[in-house]
Amino acid sequence: IHFILLFSRQGKLRLQKWYMTLPDKEKKKIIREIIQIILSRNQKTSSFVDWKDLKLVYKRYASLYFCCAIEEQDNELLTLEVIHRYVELLDRYFGNVCELDIIFNFEKAYFILDEFIIGGEVQETSKRSAVKAIEDSDMLQE
């Protein structure tokens, strides 16, 4: 996974995580481009878009789009599962997650993502242990 973007239907970015280093300008350009591509796609179309030499895999949950950029040989379905798993994790952590949760606790959303994916690779496939790790570190925080 090269990067993950979360954005709303209005095209507002909610979360961005890059697993490759790019200058900020470049990132902004890419973000704008991708949001535009995905928002312009029909609801009924498939969730995969070829974009440059990468593939975009996205999924919409309520008003939020979750989008991952993966490489040519990567498995699209697995990436969808990754997205779904992340949503499940958020859900578990926040308890019925909604966009506002992510807006107001954006750092938490990042922490969860970090527990789940590191350097573009899935690190924890078990929901339970991922959430537990977050909760434990939250405990530590208090």
């Binding site: 878009v49 699209e76 590191i118």
Partner: protein, 1063 residues
Amino acid sequence: MALKMVKGSIDRMFDKNLQDLVRGIRNHKEDEAKYISQCIDEIKQELKQDNIAVKANAVCKLTYLQMLGYDISWAAFNIIEVMSASKFTFKRIGYLAASQCFHEGTDVIMLTTNQIRKDLSSPNQYDTGVALTGLSCFVTPDLARDLANDIMTLMSHTKPYIRKKAVLIMYKVFLKYPESLRPAFPRLKEKLEDPDPGVQSAAVNVICELARRNPKNYLSLAPLFFKLMTSSTNNWVLIKIIKLFGALTPLEPRLGKKLIEPLTNLIHSTSAMSLLYECVNTVIAVLISLSSGMPNHSASIQLCVQKLRILIEDSDQNLKYLGLLAMSKILKTHPKSVQSHKDLILQCLDDKDESIRLRALDLLYGMVSKKNLMEIVKKLMIHVDKAEGTTYRDELLTKIIDICSQSNYQYITNFEWYISILVELTRLEGTRHGHLIAAQMLDVAIRVKAIRKFAVSQMAMLLDNAHLIASNTQRNGICEVLYAAAWICGEFSEHLEEANQTLEAMLRPKVTTLPGHIQAVYVQNMVKLYASILQQKEQSGEKEAAQEITQLMIERLPQFVQSADLEVQERASCILQLIKYIQKLQVKEVPVAEEVIALFAGELNPVAPKAQKKVPVPEGLDLDAWINEPPSDSESEDEKPKTIFHDEEQRHSRHRQPEIDEEELARRREARKQEQANNPFYIKSSPSPQKRYQDTPGVEHIPVVQIDLSVPLKVPGMPMSDQYVKLEEERRHKQKLEKDKKKKKQKKEKEKRGKHHRHNSLHTESEEDIAPAHHVDIITEEMPENALPSDEDDKDPNDPYKALDIDLDKPLADSEKLPVQRHRNVETLKSPDSEAPLAEKKSKKPKKKEKKHKEKEREKGKKKEKEKKAAEEEEEEKKGEDLDFWLSTAPPPASTTQPQSQPEVGGAHVAESQEVEKEEREERDEEEEDEGKKSSKHKKKKHKKEKEEKSKDKKKSKKKSHHSEEEAAESVQNGTLDDEPLPPMSSYRLLAENTYVKMTYDIQGNLQNDSQVTVSVIFENKSTSFLKSMELNVLDSLNTKMLRPEGSSVHDGIPVPFQLPPE
């Protein structure tokens, strides 16, 4: 009121947290920018305060603003401050901010090295975790180099939480610092069998990613992965492993055979679509790599196709899409099995989703046959009419042309049909692919002689209706077809029935609105038409009509003479003069038709686009050799122009060098001269730039000029590409004989349609060798020497993964070991109280020492190289055999001898003889030795020495100097035994014991160098007094020796660098 405002702003200054900021931004929709700049000012104030909590809050807010697109790089230093906070709450925020906004260009990033190192070794696993996570986002080559060893140590951490993170980070480290791969790889491999599934899957992930890029280095791991694949139930892991195998099989077909069975089992049994999809993909890859000679795998193909059909039939668009995608992969090797699903794929053309339709189109390309071509194209034409978006319609159009023209029109049985399809396509509005259609028209008309009559009539019709096409000229490319139409009508005017009418159509004033290059073709072909009409009239004795037509030309041509386009203008005025001259002759009643028609005598033949490339370099011609003496460097400036001029002249005189034999040359030269003489447009003055342009290619360094030429060549015989294209073709006439034959064949084919099967196969064959004589040369000409197919070529030289193409089976050289910060423990021993020296101080010291250390390593490496070589070779041989053995024997992939276990085996062997010697060890207690001296000695010691001493030293946590085995050992001896599970390697046995001291030992094969073993010894003080100084010595034997510090003699002992308090 004012007071309230002041109060409010003070409040905000101290209280505004992230939530307030978010809320504030949402409440200030109209003047967001202003509000945020105000907030940033506040944040700047907050960052100036000493309170770390306030700072952390500010950084947290900044991170949010960063996401909104604001630049926060100015706060990088503050972020580091927050990162180094001791409280986890703040540290976490600091690292988050860092991971979001640091990148390789951030200069303060060097300052973080020691902070990160400290966090990595923190007793709190979440501190370590957060540092690792952060590092994964902003690791730089420098950081990777400095921290590689620390992270490697963490790979053997007692907590799986840390282990798995460390394993994943290693991948990032490898990318940034490829030198670390070899030293770290053995441990990474170890993690494949980690008891914790998370760690295991992390290791699988990393190795898969590595192997995908450079599969050949990982072939030896195949047996291990095979075992994992057959035993694992975790789909996430399975998918990765299967993907890895997909990358490996092309290199080792035997592996593929072995895989087919378990994969088909998985395909049958799994319910997870992602896994199924991955399996199918890999099976396809396997089958492709096996390619021929595997007839009994048609079952697996069938299975794949069936499963894919289920995917395609699924209502989920994603599955449909992927099904089609995978199907197209099968299509390449097994077109037959896919063709049976044509119905389904045609259905997909009706899908609402454009991306699915495009995939289906891709598939159709491979599915056509002679039988179904017309049917499929008809369907596509219907879609063309229905299609809304221009992009999709254009795509359809190109696909139709691709499908029809593939393998040299192999599937077209009726060219009249094809021409009418092309004509129909011209009615498309707003397509960008006019030139494509035009090229097809030209190609077909030139190459299929029998179709010319029909083509000409169709083209005449197009010209007649040009206003339909040209009405919207400027905005689309469809008018390009007029280019083709005009040329075809002109060139093959003998087939034209209503030549007069066509000529008139071409002379319409409206034509002047067409693009210049098309007008130029018009002008040129008008003359051709005119010439044939003239001939016709003269033959039938209609002088009146002949003069009429000349008059018409003279009347209408001036409109082209006025053209703004240079090409059109030039041609038109030349032709106008010519025709005026003809008129004079006509008035004198001189028959001119013969002469006029002679202008265009001879047939134009198609030239293969790559023909130029295939011209062989004649023997004895060195294209790279200087024609003149190369200008010497000392030449003065003013001389240079002269040399260049010289050069060109010379080149010109040799321009015919590339042609094959002298006779042929003479003949061609003659032919060209005649052509030139006959050609009124040929400027006969000595070397015109055009001429040189045409002539030079042979002599010049081919690739350069070629590019220019290939343009006219691609559209063979185009009048627009000027007279010299004709000449060029004339020159190649000989080479094209094959082609003529082929054309005849095609003609026959048309006449006797029943027989086309055989003909077609012949015809494709003959097409292959358009220029058979030169065919052999293609390889050497087109490819650079020893170029490898695909693989190397499409790799980006800047590809970060390329650096990781490292042979992992070779034992490590000393020089490759990771920089280790081994002096640390000494430092702490020296001053156990100064726990945390200043960061700056720390960061400087280690670096210097590292360098020193590295240098020494290198020296050592050289020495050792020789003795290692033999061992290496043996090792590799064994490995090769192992894999072969595993692959060739059918029985279960017995976990017998896996390459992985070998280093240890080797190690143990050495250790055997070593044990004996250890008995001879002498250890003495020496009173009162200078501490400083000792530690300085210790510094010199290499970290790979055979003996590693351990103590009960209480500053254990500071001792992170050595490899992880030592780390593990450490935790054992530190009395933490009770809380933590015993690492498997800590099987310490008694070495010797007396009233003063007890020693237990353990032997480890050195993971980084299999010609060495590490013997760890634990000393226990049994006496009641302080053991202040010890020395360790071993008598070297033939087979073993102790690694001693540089410069010490064989008999020197190593002082033990610590003191033992009484128990």
